[in-house]
């Protein structure tokens, strides 16, 4: 009887442990970054790499592979041509909607396999801390009164930064000239050097120069303020930055940070990665990173994610169309 119980227990143990025998990567997993080194995507990829490694979430190592050429189109084409390769994960952002529209890149995110949306990134309007205008109203008034139009710097051309600039013009009537730079980091140092009047960088891109007291955040392009209340500079937290709407500038934009596998992968493989990123989103490394970079936590998979992507795609498309950035 006792022996029987033992066998039953062993059998149960085997049954219970079968999920662990499900699909698992057999080669190092490559996180594909569609941007240059040091940018927001790269930093996030390295955070994920560290979180997976420190918490032993996967047996195989993770490597970050930078494919930022052609404004990130390189990464999209690379993923597209890797059908069925479950060892590559793309860390995607709004370029998956915008690049095919503006530059006619032969790519559609529906050809890849969505895994999870892991964060939303904010946009903040920044000016140089040495300038006299301390809020959105003073800034816009100065822009309108200026004899030569204010210079707005941003990442790339006909992308989120320029879209925001166009909508700021539409809502306020002020005129800006938009200067495209290769990266947000470059836009940040150009603002510090007073070569441009403002930028709409993500919080992470301007964090260091804000802490150094060289730039000033004017407003955040979201419906609500950023939730993080611990002090970033000596006097201010992310939460102290007003929303643009509060300041009378009704423009909102959030950018997804999502993980995709190439097309034609099996459901078991997708399940493995969904589980992996779920676990990543629960690690202290992830939480710490979200707060430091002022990212909005979110976790969507499966149907929720597809629904979100479709809506987000439609919204980006209408913004791009209204801004006149869709290539004919």
């Amino acid at each position: 009887m006792r022996r029987l119980a033992k066998i039953a227990a062993a059998g149960a143990a085997i049954l219970l442990s079968t999920p662990a025998l499900a699909w698992e990567p057999t080669k190092p997993v490559e996180i594909v970054v569609a941007a240059g080194a040091g940018g927001a995507s790269d930093q996030m990829a390295r955070m994920i790499q560290a979180a997976v490694q420190k918490n032993n979430l996967m047996k195989q190592p993770m490597v970050v592979s930078l494919k930022g050429a052609a404004s990130g189109a390189e990464a999209l084409i690379y993923m597209k041509s890797s059908d069925g390769d479950s060892n590559k994960v793309l860390i995607a952002y709004s370029l998956i909607y915008m690049l095919p529209l503006s530059a006619k890149i032969p790519f559609n995110w529906r050809e890849l396999t969505p895994v999870a949306v892991i964060a939303m990134d904010q946009f903040v309007l920044w000016d140089n801390a040495g300038k006299p205008y301390k809020n959105v109203k003073e800034f816009i008034d100065a822009a309108k009164a200026s004899s030569s139009p204010f210079k707005m710097g941003g990442t790339g051309s006909k992308r989120e930064d320029q879209v925001l600039t166009v909508f700021m013009e539409k809502r306020t009537g002020a005129k800006f000239v938009y200067l495209p730079y290769k990266s947000g980091g470059e836009a940040a140092t150009q603002l510090v050097g007073n070569h441009i009047d403002a930028n709409v960088n993500n919080p992470s891109e301007n964090l260091e120069v804000w802490r150094a007291g060289q730039v000033r955040p004017l407003c955040v392009f979201d419906k609500e303020r950023i939730s993080y209340k611990s002090k970033v500079t000596e006097t201010q937290s992310w939460n102290d930055i007003p929303t643009c709407k509060e300041e009378g500038l009704d423009v909102q934009y959030l950018m997804l940070r999502a993980m995709f596998l190439p097309g034609k992968v099996t459901p078991e493989q997708v399940a493995f990665y969904v589980d992996l990123f779920k676990k990543v989103s629960e690690t202290p490394e992830y939480k710490d990173y979200m707060e430091k970079q002022a990212l909005k936590p979110i976790f969507l998979t499966g149907k929720d994610m597809t629904k979100f992507l479709e809506e987000d795609d439609a919204q980006n498309k209408s913004l791009m169309t209204e801004a006149g950035f869709v290539a004919k």
């Binding site: 052609a70 051309s157 000239v177 938009y178 050097g193």
Partner: protein, 503 residues
């Protein structure tokens, strides 16, 4: 003494077992590529660059710069023992070095070469140490017009000061600029010249081009010339080293003069080769018995080697601080920095202090370690040259192919590299210099972006390039350098017209 504190910090970054090991590996690899004919500094660094992609930037650049030092040291070995300059700037070393080897004084010549290399580099590193902090405070004044003016200066100085025929330099540069247009354009966000090909989407990677242009083309040339390698055996004993070192103080004027020439020319682009010749020529001009030069005089080794290394090292300063490379190898290191997201330029000193001072500290350490290493391993490296060329050539081709593939994991790049190999071969045959082509590939995109950003900012007014003292000075200097041969001639005429009037 901010520089001193930062330098000490740089040493603490370096003094880990791992970094020191990388340094040794880099030096050995560097000497190896320096000794191999057809490789040399720029090619060696280009081929080995992808090896470092998995490292953190500081380790990677330390290793790369050690490959660079190694290659500089290695170039002297072939010049003296085999009369084959590994690098263009080692040519002057052969004038007296090879005769010394023929007279059985190879060890003495090698010691002289290594020691003077070390002294030249050290002088240049000292210069970098004390100039670098000043350059960083000047950093934030660089906006698009300033950046463009600096690139313009580089392009113009290649045309105006280069030794090659002007039209050939311009042809080479224009072809390079044309190729940088391929791919995504940052300013308009549109694709250019890709003809629907997804391989061309990435643009032409300059490393792929460089490996082909230098590495493959050199193999083709050597094959054609049926290069036979015959070398002299060499061993260095402590006695010889001490003897040469005891004699050093006698030549302090030569050493100092060559160091100065090297530092000065290194900061202006393309100066390293000119520096070694200038060092040699000046040493000869100021010597009492000029006839003994070219017949195995130790001073004839000291002078060019010191100058070449001072300029090779000083060339790193404009690369780091302004993003303009002073030599071919520096141009490749520049590309390497961009791979790691370190944008060379004034802001590098502000944004990546650890990296910059780590690199400067590695220049000191790398040179000391390198000197010891070459002195002890000369016989081994010299034996490399006794391996038949037929055995070495395939190895070089394979390493070139691996290098080209590894940059972007693309098979297309290997074909591109072979194509560039043929282009390089043809260029060498018809006397079109490769350096302006490489330079245009590295800086073309950035120059174009900077120009168009400046134009957007100014509303299309070219006056922006004279809108403040800094940018105005650089732009004017650039134009002056472009037309330097004409200006020089005009001054000569005026001089001629004045002289008879005086007489």
């Amino acid at each position: 003494m901010e520089a001193f504190g930062l330098l000490l910090h740089g040493f603490t970054v370096l003094l880990t077992g791992k970094t020191l090991l990388l340094m040794m590996v880099g030096l050995v690899l560097g000497i190896f590529v320096g000794v191999l004919p057809g490789l040399g500094g720029p090619n060696g660094v280009a081929i080995l660059l992808p090896l470092t992609f998995t490292m953190d930037p500081t380790s990677a650049i330390v290793m790369l710069s050690c490959i660079y030092w190694g290659a500089l040291f290695g170039g002297a070995i072939t010049s003296i023992l085999f009369n084959i300059p590994g690098e263009a700037w080692s040519v002057a070393t052969t004038f007296d070095g090879y005769p010394m080897a023929q007279q059985g004084r190879a060890a003495e010549a090698l010691t002289a070469a290594f020691t003077s290399s070390f002294i030249g580099s050290l002088c240049a590193v000292l210069l970098i140490t004390f100039l670098a902090p000043m350059i960083s405070s000047f950093a934030l004044r660089f906006g698009p017009p300033e950046f463009f003016a600096v690139y313009l200066l580089t392009f113009c100085s290649f045309v105006g000061l280069g030794r090659e025929a002007k039209h050939k330099t311009i042809i080479s540069m224009a072809l390079g600029l044309l190729l940088t247009g391929i791919g995504m354009d940052t300013i308009s966000g549109q694709l250019r010249m890709t003809f629907g090909s997804t391989d061309l989407l990435r643009g032409i990677n300059f490393l792929v081009a460089v490996i082909g242009l230098f590495g493959i083309s050199e193999i083709l040339l050597t094959m054609e010339e049926r290069l036979a390698l015959r070398g002299h055996a060499a061993g260095i004993s402590l006695r010889v080293i001490l003897k040469v070192w005891m004699d050093l103080p006698k030549y302090w004027v030569t050493l100092l003069r060559s160091s100065f020439i090297g530092c000065w020319l290194g900061i202006t682009p393309g100066g390293a080769i000119a520096a070694s010749f200038m060092g040699y020529n000046l040493a000869k001009r100021f010597a009492k018995d000029q006839d003994s030069f070219g017949k195995g005089r130790i001073e004839g080794v000291f002078a060019p080697e010191t100058a070449a290394h001072a300029s090779g090292t000083a060339a790193l300063l404009p690369m780091l601080a302004l993003g303009i490379p002073g030599s071919g190898t520096a141009a490749i290191l520049l590309g390497g920095l961009m791979v790691w997201g370190l944008n060379p330029g004034p802001l590098l000193f502000v944004e990546h202090k650890d990296f910059v001072w780590g690199l400067i500290a590695s220049m000191y350490l790398g040179n000391v370690v390198g000197l010891v290493l070459v002195l002890t391993t000369v016989p081994i490296f010299a034996s490399v040259l006794r391996v038949p060329f037929a055995a070495i050539a395939p190895m070089i081709v394979v390493s070139c192919a691996i290098g080209a593939y590894a940059i972007q994991n693309a098979m297309f790049d290997i074909w591109l590299m072979l194509l560039f190999g043929v282009v390089g071969y043809v260029f060498k045959k018809i006397g079109i210099p490769l350096a302006p082509f490489t330079l245009a590939l590295v800086l073309g995109n950035r120059a174009e972006d900077a120009f168009r950003q400046a134009m957007i900012g100014s509303g299309g007014d070219l006056g922006v390039f004279w809108s403040n003292g800094l940018v105005g000075f650089i732009t004017t200097l650039a134009l002056a350098l472009l037309f330097w041969p004409l200006i020089d001639k005009a001054f000569g005429r005026i001089g001629q017209m004045l002289r008879p009037a005086k007489a």
